[in-house]
């Protein structure tokens, strides 16, 4: 086999990836269904036993994300993870990180809300992640893994993109993917880099001006120029970072658009449909921001309709409708209780919406 293949929980894959991709620091606070991430890291003790990666259980989610801010501002690869209520608490700091142009990785293993809700899986934090739950105009790249392997890979990808754009990146996972075990091909251990980045606060050496990291621009004009710069960056992300997967869309008359666990379920729906001679395909956005709008628009020419499957009351559907410029019927199907929908349910819904 040669390859290093392990059976891992989605949450564990994130933790192991953090170590292997040479992440410098993890700061977190326990919350179901993602506490395995910090528990795995605590058990592996990478600080003492593997790479020197720092692992701290903070006093709160707010402290954790602000520790990420501090480390990120030194040019370090720093990350945090939480689940829905904890992510809501991080919104101010996420907005700060974008404003201060800091890289960093935030993992949200989504559970059912609103409020304390349920600890079962959900996808109802799409708007928060993609439209900006914090204040001000901002975006971050949102990665939506649908396998345990992707949970692993997206940690590497996430940091790559975070540093490429000096912007936080979010992995939007859910309780189902976080808790399930699948095979993961592990990549070789990368070293922590300890690079001195020219913008980072690593101590002002005599050869350069001081670096400072801030999101404060009291002068409206300066603030506006800063925002114009940020918007240009978000546009660059839209131009270059769209990622998605297509399954049987070539001849499709209908497609499902779904991400994460819903995409997994929808894959089975596609199989069912094809067995029944129905030309159904799947477009699975891997980046939720930037959204594969262009590809959807292209596809829409030859489609009769789209079903959005999300475990929410219908959030991504707005981006799908905008993508296809409302040219074809777009419907939503989803569940809102933390209970995950079944393929049969989705298939029946599809048939009743489009074929009856």
């Amino acid at each position: 086999m040669g390859e290093d293949i392990q059976l891992m929980k989605g949450n564990e894959a994130i933790a192991e990836a953090a170590i292997r991709f040479g992440v410098d620091a993890y700061f977190g606070y326990p919350i179901t269904p993602q506490s395995e991430i910090i528990e795995y890291l605590a058990y592996e003790d990478p600080y003492n036993k593997r790479t020197g990666m720092v692992v701290i259980q903070a006093e709160s989610e707010i402290a954790a994300i602000n520790m990420v801010y501090g480390a990120a501002a030194c040019g370090k690869k720093a990350m945090t993870s939480s689940s829905s209520p904890g992510i809501s608490l991080k919104q101010e700091a996420i907005s700060y990180m974008v404003g201060a142009e800091l890289p960093g990785l935030i993992v949200n293993v989504v559970r059912g809300g609103p409020g304390l809700g349920t600890i079962q899986p959900s996808q109802a934090d799409y708007f928060q992640s993609v439209k900006g739950g914090g204040h001000g105009d901002y975006n971050m790249i949102v990665l939506a893994p649908s396998t345990v392997q992707e949970q692993y890979d997206h940690v590497g990808l996430g940091f790559e993109l975070a540093f490429k754009y000096r912007n936080p990146v979010m992995i939007l996972s859910d309780g189902a993917i976080g808790q399930m075990m699948e095979k993961v091909t592990l990549t070789p251990q990368l070293p922590r880099e300890n690079k001195i980045l020219d913008w980072a606060t690593t101590g002002k050496t005599p050869d350069r001006e001081r670096n400072y990291i801030t999101s404060l621009y009291l002068d409206p004009e300066v603030q506006e120029n800063h925002n114009i710069k940020l918007q240009a960056k978000f546009q660059r992300m839209k131009d270059t970072e769209v990622r998605y997967e297509e399954i049987m869309t070539d001849d499709a008359e209908y497609i499902i658009v779904a991400y994460g666990i819903s995409a997994r379920i929808s894959q089975t729906v596609i199989t069912m449909a094809r067995k029944n001679g129905i030309k159904l395909g799947l477009l699975r956005p891997i980046t939720l921001f930037p959204f594969p709008s262009k590809r959807l628009f292209e596809l829409s020419d030859s489609l009769k309709g789209i079903l959005c499957v999300e475990m929410s009351a219908g959030q991504m559907i707005e981006d799908v409708e905008l993508a296809v410029r409302c040219k074809i019927p777009v419907y939503h199907y989803g569940r809102m209780g933390g209970g995950v929908t079944s393929s049969t349910e989705v298939f029946e819904k599809f048939v009743s919406l489009f074929l009856k």
């Binding site: 059976l7 808790q179 399930m180 075990m181 699948e182 997994r264 379920i265 894959q267 929908t341």
Partner: protein, 183 residues
Amino acid sequence: MNEDILIAGFGGQGVLSMGKILAYAGMMQGKEVCWMPSYGPEMRGGTANVTVIVGDNKINSPILQEFDTVIILNQQSLNKFEQSVKPGGKLFYDSNGLTTLPTRKDINIYHIPATKTSVELGNTKVFNIMVLGGLLKIVPIIDIQFIEKGLYKSLPERSHKLIPLNLEAFKQGEAIVEVIQEL
């Protein structure tokens, strides 16, 4: 083909680890595997269940409503999951936890008296693996050699000395499984 398996019982019965051993063994045998547990505080004393999918094809949805094979280890699970066996599928149970018995006529039903046997052997810790022995006797999706490899992979080092004992119990499981109804 993939085999969709559900194991359901009390949290304390090691339901989740039974699933893990299966999944590890499947992986060692080069198969596609997926393990999807129920989780959360309901498990505290309540019912736990786990879905394990083992097979040769890429695994799509890990969330299943119907299963090829269901293993039932207490009454609540029987009530909840008897109907989840696909027509023509298989239901295994250990009668020890049950006050009623499965009644479906359109499925294959097997009994693995693992509690009783393991108590008799004076080692209730091997209950788990005994059930697996019974299961794999009827549904031979995984070879015993890979169960052994799976155990080595999934158990912590300090427990490796117990593996031979476990393999014994596995064989015992193969021996005690009874056909109750075969279609």
